[in-house]
């Protein structure tokens, strides 16, 4: 089902949790809401589900204003971060709950409920655990129960609030893939809240980056990563190095060296240069706009990083640059660094002045 969010705002006392949020969720897509803690992801999700109420704006379910639909009528499958399983019920009864509470006219006969629950348990691969209680399950198993329970009501939309937040990295990874496959099979419109960008980049069709109650950017994982709309997104997604620079005479100045640019830049003043660590290339000390001493070399899995302390107009700045495989540097070496792909943001402004891919 298609869901449209229009101009939604929400405040808690004086605190503005959501500011004029507009969002279109296409039917059948898997959308990730990504943002730092406190950015309003849960709040937005709860308002869509009807578990909370907005102060302004509307939510449309398939074009119909959902204001008059309470939680019961919205048919949303909500998966809570801490599962919220019913502890006094078995796994089976937990999953059957949504089927059993239907009004008598719509309720399926018992044998159909049993059949359906069994199918769901098989679907999420926990058919052997039907008679267990939630306390007797691991975190990953509980998450599967929570998902099966939400799916039991054949929801119009599946809303998942950091479903893998409480699990360890390995389980997260496998559940993530599994969720991706599952979504491919069911094709139910899904919104996944996460503050783990890797999760969002890997799983989602589209990503919504939120910051301070606002939507900062909406786009495919590639767009978000390669073309961050503003400094917030650049900073939040992936690793980034921020360097204070100056715009002067149409060029970018890092200290006393000018960065080679293709076009002339307007204006004069301080700005910030954002660059991904892997877009800093090592070069000749005498030519590169940045120089510094290698402090340490680290190997993380297959990649190596060098901590380079930049001698930067009196200020010391430690950046972490990724080392190309064949480069050999040792702590103490003086090296030059050149930003290959970067963005320049004027101080105080979120919009990018220029970007370069050399």
């Amino acid at each position: 089902m298609k869901i449209d969010v229009r101009n939604l705002s929400k405040r808690f006392g004086n605190f503005v949790a959501l500011k004029n949020v507009d969002l279109d969720i296409a039917s059948g897509e898997l959308l990730a809401l990504l943002g730092p803690s406190g950015s309003g992801k849960t709040t937005l999700l709860r308002i869509i589900a009807g578990l909370d109420f907005a102060d302004g704006g509307e939510v449309y379910f398939a074009g119909e204003n959902a204001a008059n639909l309470n939680v019961r009528k919205r048919h949303v499958g909500f998966v809570f971060q801490h599962y919220a399983l019913f502890r006094h019920m078995t796994v089976f009864e937990n999953v059957a709950f949504g089927l059993r509470v239907r009004p008598r006219r719509e309720r399926k006969p018992e044998h159909e409920i049993v059949k359906r629950v069994k199918r769901l348990l098989e679907f999420v691969h926990i058919e052997g655990l039907a008679e267990r209680y939630p306390d007797q399950l691991s975190g990953g198993q509980r998450q599967r129960v929570a998902l099966a329970r939400a799916l039991a009501i054949e929801p119009n939309v599946l809303l998942l609030d950091e479903p893998f937040g409480a699990l360890d990295a390995k389980v997260r990874k496998s559940l993530r893939r599994w969720l991706r496959d599952l979504h491919g099979e069911l094709n139910v419109t899904s919104v996944l809240v996460t503050h783990d960008q890797e999760e969002a980049l890997e799983v989602a069709d589209r990503i919504v980056v939120m910051g301070n109650g606002k939507i900062e950017q909406v786009g495919t994982p590639e767009e978000i990563y390669n073309e961050p709309a503003n400094s917030f997104v650049f900073d939040f997604i992936g690793e980034s190095v921020k360097l204070p620079v100056r715009i002067e005479n149409g060029g970018i100045w890092i200290g006393s060296r000018r960065l080679a640019t293709n076009d002339e830049l307007p204006g004069t003043g301080p700005a910030r240069l954002f660059v991904r660590p892997h877009d800093l290339t090592f070069g000749e000390v005498s030519e590169a706009p940045l120089q510094g001493a290698v402090r340490a070399v680290r190997r993380v899995g297959a990649l190596s990083f060098a901590d380079v302390r930049l001698d930067y107009g009196g200020d010391d700045l430690l950046v972490e640059a990724s080392l190309p495989p064949e480069t050999l540097v040792r702590p103490g070496d003086l090296v030059g660094l050149t930003p290959r792909r970067y963005r320049i943001y004027e101080d105080g402004a979120a919009e990018s002045l220029t970007s370069a891919a050399l």
């Binding site: 919205r74 909500f78 949504g98 039991a152």
Partner: protein, 280 residues
């Protein structure tokens, strides 16, 4: 490989020290304070012949007193469960002016000397009293009837239910209710299928405590009950009367049977509680 034999051990190895000390103290303490006096009482009663014991228990006055004591204590505990739940609900779920004061008032029956409570209730509910004057025209007589006993026992029992249910209600994850609602449950279904089962062990505990307290209550009841033999005379009072008549054997026999019945009822409630807890 040798088979792993699972033997029942009294003491499991534990990293937490102090088992010996605390267990020893528990046994000693319980013995001195509870078990030895009770044993002495049973010993004393056992000196009565069996026939004599039965004769005392089946005397009309004894039977009526026992029936009254247990029956009304049970009714009062039921009342307290219902209203105690409502009070606990209101105190935990809603923010209203005077909530803290209301919360404090709940404990008053714990603290007030029961005789004071009895006199106050008797005055209020007498046909001339503040409340009694409205009941009298309706033909409802509270003082000097079993109804009066009920009022007194409800009064002394209410905090037990409120104080056992309240913390559990407070800890109840609101997300459970939201989850149930999002799955299509009506408010009533949420209460019946999600909240009630979670609260049940605490409700049973509250019931057991309120009931136990009501069975043994003496001070507040005797002022409002009128203590008419066979009508509004409770068993604890009958024991005191027998003692004053120097019929110690009679007093002990009644005490033993009260102990026995109370023990059985508490045991049943305890089982029920275990059962409900085991399911969660």
């Amino acid at each position: 490989m040798p088979p792993l034999s699972k033997t029942l051990r009294f003491r499991e190895p534990s990293v937490i020290p102090g088992f010996g000390l605390t267990f020893g103290l528990t046994v000693t303490w319980l013995s001195v304070i509870v078990l030895i006096p009770l044993a002495a009482m049973i010993l004393y009663a056992s000196r009565l012949g069996f026939d004599q014991f039965i004769a005392i228990l089946t005397a009309q006055r004894t039977l009526n007193a026992l029936k009254l004591s247990f029956g009304i204590a049970f009714a009062a505990a039921i009342f307290n469960v219902i209203f105690g739940l409502i009070v606990a609900w209101a105190l935990t779920r809603y923010e209203f002016p005077g909530r803290r004061i209301a919360d404090a008032i709940v404990d008053i029956p714990f603290a007030l000397p029961t005789a004071v409570a009895g006199i106050a209730l008797a005055t209020l509910y007498s046909p001339q009293g503040w409340i009694g004057q409205f009941l009298a025209p309706l033909g409802i007589q509270v003082t000097f009837t079993p109804l009066g006993i009920l009022v007194a026992l409800i009064f002394v029992g209410i905090p037990f239910v409120v104080r056992t249910v309240q913390p559990v209600l407070k800890d109840l994850d609101p997300e459970l209710e939201l989850a149930a609602a999002s799955l299509g449950a009506s408010r009533w279904q949420v209460i019946r299928k999600v909240i009630a089962p979670t609260l049940l062990p605490a409700i049973l505990t509250g019931f057991a405590l309120a009931f136990a307290r009501a069975v043994g209550e003496y001070g507040s009841v005797i002022f409002i009950a009128g203590n008419l033999p066979n009508i509004s005379e409770i068993a604890p009072l009958l024991i005191v009367i027998r003692l004053e008549e120097f019929r110690y054997a009679d007093a002990t026999a009644i005490a033993v049977i009260m102990l026995f019945v109370a023990f059985i009822m508490l045991l049943i409630i305890n089982r029920l509680q275990r059962w409900t807890e085991a399911r969660s």
